[in-house]
């Protein structure tokens, strides 16, 4: 049970990453690799600020801004210098590696003894229900603190989703979505698509950096290599979410990214819980994701078949 709760929590934290990836890849159709750098950038910024004694909430916010700055640079390189978006991302991601080392001053920054956002929640949990309190959730014993953590993450994600949804419904947001869908049309309407791309990629990386900042606080350290592979998982989450929700309207796609991220962590958790040979972990995960992707389609086909049969009868 605590594995389930932990998976939900990480899934929700990484849903911020999925949302970021969703903005660049899906809204703008902009294959942005900056993610791997900005994820770590957010973690590094937040960690260094927290160690320096800055309020963790403020640190996370600054991490968000830092990620936006990184994204804006990618957008600028692409729009002003006509550099291929993939290459622009690669350039910024590579540069961020050095930046991250400078931000932290070393390659790994422990937060084990620092006050983070999550320490606050733990303290809150202790204040409400006492030290080491356990709750019984349908027969499993769970630390109350973990439940509060999950609740907090859920709250944050819901808030961000609503915020994002609202933003993409505003004039500027609609223009941004249109930029991704049909930039010629929207340019004809007098919208500066370059500005839209820059803002969009910046927003995307802001989310990703915030995910990094949250993960660093959750796991208790920031490491310069923690962004490696993140973009792929984020993308996988977005696509799983799309396959399951299977609806193109804005609200559903946003929700899909979150559901996909949580689902993905759950699949990894199952692979872990079954205690398979550790060397097989990745192939099992891949297999699960594969099944999760094809299952909705299979189910639909089956429904159609039965329907057809009835029609014939």
């Amino acid at each position: 049970m605590s594995l389930l709760i932990g998976s939900f929590t990480i899934g929700l934290i990484l849903a911020l990453l999925a949302l970021g990836i969703f903005i660049s890849f899906r809204i703008f159709d902009f294959p942005d690799i900056t993610a791997e750098g900005s994820f770590t950038f957010g973690a590094a910024t937040a960690a260094s600020l927290i160690v320096a004694g800055v309020n963790p909430l403020l640190s996370s916010f600054i991490a968000f801004i830092a990620g936006m700055a990184a994204g804006a640079v990618t957008g600028l390189i692409h729009t002003r210098f006509k550099i291929n978006p993939l290459l622009a991302g690669i350039l910024v991601m590579t540069a961020l590696y050095s930046v991250n080392l400078h931000v932290m001053g070393k390659s790994n920054m422990p937060l084990l003894n620092e006050t983070t956002v999550f320490t606050w929640i733990e303290n809150f949990s202790v204040a409400v229900s006492g030290e080491g309190a356990k709750a019984n959730v349908i027969g499993w014993e769970v630390a109350v603190k973990d439940l509060w953590l999950l609740f907090f993450c859920l709250l944050v994600i819901v808030a961000f989703c609503i915020g994002l949804w609202w933003f993409f419904k505003t004039n500027i947001g609609t223009a941004m979505r249109a930029t991704g869908d049909n930039d010629q049309m929207i340019r004809a309407l007098g919208v500066n698509t370059k500005a839209m791309i820059i803002i969009g990629v910046a927003l995307s990386n802001g989310f990703i950096a915030l995910a990094g900042a949250m993960l660093a606080q959750y796991q208790g350290f920031a490491d310069v290599q923690m962004g490696i592979g993140m973009m792929v998982w984020g993308l996988a989450s977005v696509i799983i979410g799309e396959a399951i929700i299977n609806d193109n309207s804005l609200g559903f796609v946003i929700a899909g990214a979150v559901v996909g991220s949580v689902l993905f962590r759950l699949l990894v958790a199952i692979a872990l819980r079954w205690g398979l040979n550790p060397n097989d972990l990745k192939i099992i995960t891949a297999l699960f994701v594969f099944i999760a992707l094809i299952l909705p389609g299979l189910m639909k086909n089956k429904k159609k078949l039965t329907f057809k049969r009835r029609a014939h009868a």
């Binding site: 932990g6 998976s7 390659s107 790994n108 937060l111 350290f221 399951i244 559903f252 990894v268 958790a269």
Partner: protein
Amino acid sequence: MKIKKVLNALLALLAIAGILLLSDLGNRIGPEKRGTKTRKAGTKAVEGITYKLGLTYFAPEEAFEMMVTGLWKGMEELGFVKDSNLIVIAQHANGEMANLQPIHLNMDNQDVDVIVPTSTPGISAAVATVKKHPMVFTMSYTPLEAGVGESFTKHRPNITGVASFPPVEKTIDFIRETIPGTKRIGTLYNSSEANSRKVAEVGKAYCEKTGIELVESTVINTSEVYQATSALCMRNIDAIWISGDNTAIQAFHAIVKVCNDNKMPLVVNDVEFVDNGALAGVGISWYNTGHFTAPFVARVLNGENPKNIPIENYVDELIVLNTGLAEKWGIQFPEKYLAKSNPLKGNNYKFSLTHYVDSPNSEDAEHGLREELKRNGLVEGKDYTLKVFNAQGDVSTMNSIADAVSAEKWDIVFVTSTPTTQTLVNKIKNMPIVFANVGDPVKAGLGISFTDHLSHVTGISTMSDFKSLIELVKESMPGIKTIGTVYTPGEVNSVAYKERLQQEAKNAGLRLIAVPANSATEVADAALSIANRGIEAFTQISDNLTASCGSSIIKVAYDNHIPYFAFIEKQVEQGAVAAISRDYYNAGADAVDMAIEVLKGKSPGSIPYRYVGKSIVTVNRDAMDYFNIKVPEKYISEAVNNE
């Protein structure tokens, strides 16, 4: 239609969560919990009730601490979690008999569900004082002498518990068989302690039967113990036997010192004290005694009348041998005791091991860990199970692993490498964690120093032996001024190592030129740039990047005729002149040794972090000839692999 889609998504989430929960069924707090061997009705905690337990003891001392550790562990297994649904009020008499009565009186007036008095004098006081509350005693050789009743079944209505009369006859047999020709055995106790008198009586009777003389010496307080033991050794005895006398145990270090000075074999009944310098222990593990007491306490907490619960004598007849000391003194333990001496066997421990990534280092550590468990007589599948996780270099997987590990109850959580340790330490607070392959645990945030660290964590640091290598280089190349290394800014260990090497070089009057490399392609260029800056030797630190690209640095060294010294054994085969390496195999093995201390009841917090016990010196004669340098003979004779 839209609602259906939301439902679909929710269903998918629920289904997957359901699968996960199904695989997690074993961890439910239901009736089918691990280790349901001899649970009678009424030993389980009832949900929603907070229990209160009053604990009284004579003085804070080691035997008591061990018993209490076992007691809480046993209670936890029955669902009574200390400080959660089990509130414990503890009081001790500060080692003074006079305080025993007041603390029990005080305890009787507290709002508690059960009182647990310990040690024979404490039980005497409790029986005399406590009127309102049921009691479960423990840690007493002879509770009947303390006044709990006439027999184990016919006892006072408000008290029951666990007696632990030591296996006196077995102890004497053990001494006779280990030290052939034993004529006189010495013993020492406080004659005012009822339990000690009783034990001595039984011992004396058995000795007479076997034709041995029991030489008794009595003391009144701890300050007399040293002198009394010295005098005892003068009385032509062959061995000293100490039973669980409170006074003798409190002054145990004095007894050990006298016995060591006189090379006098010391045999005890409290097996935990073998670690403190006795030759052997036959009999009682206080940890197990505490564990055995837990169901008694649980039954009374659940409202059973102590009158109906018979007292039981608990002796597990453990044999613990101090083989190191025996070897030193040339004592040979009989085979049958050696075979029986492993208290760790048969406990079916649950271990987990988490790696960050597949690497030769983590594989070596796992190998060493498994072999060391084997060397300690533990058989996989029978005495322990080891579940291995591997994050395969992925931070988010690592977090899921941390959840998977924290979801189960492990006796020891083993981890290798720095990021894994950080993640697990952050996630897991209630299980002992033992790490290996962490270069610098202090820099990794695992503590303020090697001794002052988190209470549930301990482990092995694999930081390289910089001082020794610098010494080796200086002795091999007299007059050397400048050395060089490539390092990787992206690896926390690499930077830490570089700084340490710099420090050691400075101390030895050398200048270190360190050049960073961020990827495999940059390593050779970095090495070349150092070579061109006038270094006289490479002292290449060990990190992941340069370890895998070591040969490109060695090639630069050969091209420029600069001797190459390493911290990795394997690089000697590739052409390094010499290496002083930390052995990851030994790191795994040493981690097991620490884990065993924890399993025996020590708190991980009290075990300081350690460096890997063994450094390996390796030299390469061909390379020595090529670079025309001479590594001093003392290193070559020490080297494991001189080609």
